[in-house]
Symmetry: C3
């Protein structure tokens, strides 16, 4: 995994982000922290040019609207033509019709390299998408040691059907293609008390995918480990009186300071 | 007041925010810090679904635009139908025609549980709104010990006329319905050097309203005390060389760490 | 330069910002930190009223779109009529057709007091704008001791042609009108690992221009020095384990705490 991080630092991948206005600043700073370079652009007249000069595209539907939805399709199709890495973060799929429909249409229209979400968002995609009828989404609503076996089967099957890597993050993180699944046990529950750790991971993961074009599964899993380890290190640095707002900074700081050795030593994963 | 905070922590109220893009991240993090769960959505095709799954709605007109104004009315009306708690933060009412008109129309069209703003914004509503002609808005431009009596009368009368709780925040904070007014003396002047402490309070207050449906006045006042005390505690934690940006984090951190005992002991208020 | 900072603190200039949603919160907080007062508004029906009550206007095209581009022209023209200070930050000019065209049209249609960008953005304006045909933009792509002489000539000539102050920030910062050029050597390379230090500088610089109407060149240079020195002081305060996210806070904090004496003592500049 060490190499995956070092490749980001060496190649400084340019990542185009069409993302929500809630967590966008943290997404930009974590992409810089890991060694990449972020550009944000969501206007239909701007996204083709911007995505063209980048190496990868991160589409996050967190605060989608009539103006930005067409930009997502346009940028996604352009990135596909250019052979760029494309990631989807289907924030809130399942919470509203618009989010669910948009996520499903994006999956049908754009070839994604990775889809990253929580179990509920990924289940929504599995159930709702016409292309994934065969997938049994009756998996539990959280990935725990008890539900792990079923969840691993589910995520592999979905990855095979959609022909892309699926990353489900939660207490235990799963990153799978059709054949293998990284089961990752880094991170801390307190990360859920910060807005946007998922969005941040998606942005950083896109940088990892661009910098490691031949090993997308490993790159995606490495990004998950980096985020989880940063959550652990950030927490270790917390001082008296500090809470979720400072913790947010400390996590990004920990990504900034992470080296390959730390990643290698602290990553807790198995491949199933 | 203790119970009001504890109810937020226990019930994890889901708050739908239609808010400005300047302070939105801090609003999300402070809602998480107090124990709630934030969702941001401002698109007309999305807000009905989102507000339906939430317990409360926080409307903040800070960076209003043609696209989001209809969403505010739509979400507000939906929340009213569902009996959800709804709060208005009329940011900048009085500073532009669009802001003043939008705030007034919202007050006429949506039944708000609380309107929270500074004295100038609230006076604009009192003067401009057809429904509040009887209110004498010739109250002073800041609430101080000298102007307090008049301000308390003003805020109670306006609350009665509008049929909702009015919260005016400043050096001294007032939270009133038609009968009673909490006069709150927590907080620090340095909080005014951070963008969005008002927006943050509005988001947090909505969570308090949802978690304490039968005691809205007390809940709103408790949220004001929590914010003010967090401002005091955050300031006590400031270290050499720190300024407004770190102070912002320390305030949210202090909300995150606040317990009922601290709230009870440090809240400085009287009821008039 | 001392006086320039002190004038901001004394007069609390109100700055209207039409800026991107990525770094907007930091822009607001740094304007507060230096002593100004920020307002954000980007809606065509709102910007005329808002710019009218302000003393200066900061236009940043970082996440421009169909809705906000007309607002930029409208606010710019209004500010011109009122004799307000107006600054342009042409973020990403050269990276897309829309950004380049918009920046050039803005320069043609609005009279700017200052244009602030990196060398690449400023070169794009110099090459692309019909009004600047005479300017040789074949200057190097970064300002270093080796390329300094040519860069100084370039920036002065462009400033003369456009009739405004040009600020190019990078390893060495240049702030010039047609006659003189401040060459500034404050700051740290690590500032490039934070999103939006340029945007922050543009917001702060607008406050400096408003507060020092008779000495715009000195005011713009003073803002650059304040930012660079804050970068140095913020870095000196960094503790073990801290990275770019905390550094962002520490820079704004250092602006908040900066006094005229520190500015005077630490500013490293020569006038050419």
């Amino acid at each position: 995994m060490k190499t995956c991080l070092e490749n980001v630092r060496t190649t400084v991948p340019l990542v185009h982000n069409i993302t929500n206005y809630v967590t966008v600043n943290d997404v930009a700073n974590i992409i810089l922290a890991c060694g990449g370079s972020p550009i944000m652009s969501d206007n239909s007249e701007d996204v083709v040019d911007i995505t063209t000069i980048c190496g990868g595209l991160n589409i996050n539907i967190g605060t989608l609207n009539q103006r930005t939805i067409p930009s997502m399709f346009l940028a996604g199709n352009t990135a596909n033509k250019l052979g760029h890495k494309v990631l989807l973060d289907p924030v809130g799929a399942g919470a509203s019709r618009l989010r669910t429909d948009t996520a499903i249409k994006l999956v049908q229209d754009v070839k994604f390299d990775v889809i990253r979400g929580n179990i509920s968002e990924i289940k929504t995609l599995a159930t709702g998408s016409g292309t994934t009828k065969g997938v049994d989404a009756d998996v539990a609503d959280s990935v725990t040691e008890e539900t792990l076996d079923d969840a691993v089967k589910f995520v592999k099957k979905l990855a095979k059907e959609l022909g892309c890597i699926i990353a489900i993050t939660g207490a235990i993180d799963l990153v799978a293609d059709g054949d293998s699944c990284y089961v990752i046990r880094n991170g801390r529950p307190e990360m859920g008390k910060i807005t946007g750790t998922g969005c941040q991971l998606s942005g950083m993961m896109t940088a990892f995918l661009v910098a490691n074009p031949k090993e997308p599964l490993k790159a995606a899993a490495a990004a998950v480990c980096v985020m989880g380890i940063a959550g652990e290190i950030g927490y270790e640095h917390m001082q008296e009186g500090e809470g979720n707002s400072t913790y947010r900074n400390r996590i990004i700081d920990a990504v900034y300071n992470m080296d390959g050795k730390t990643l290698e030593e602290r990553a807790k994963y198995e491949i199933r």
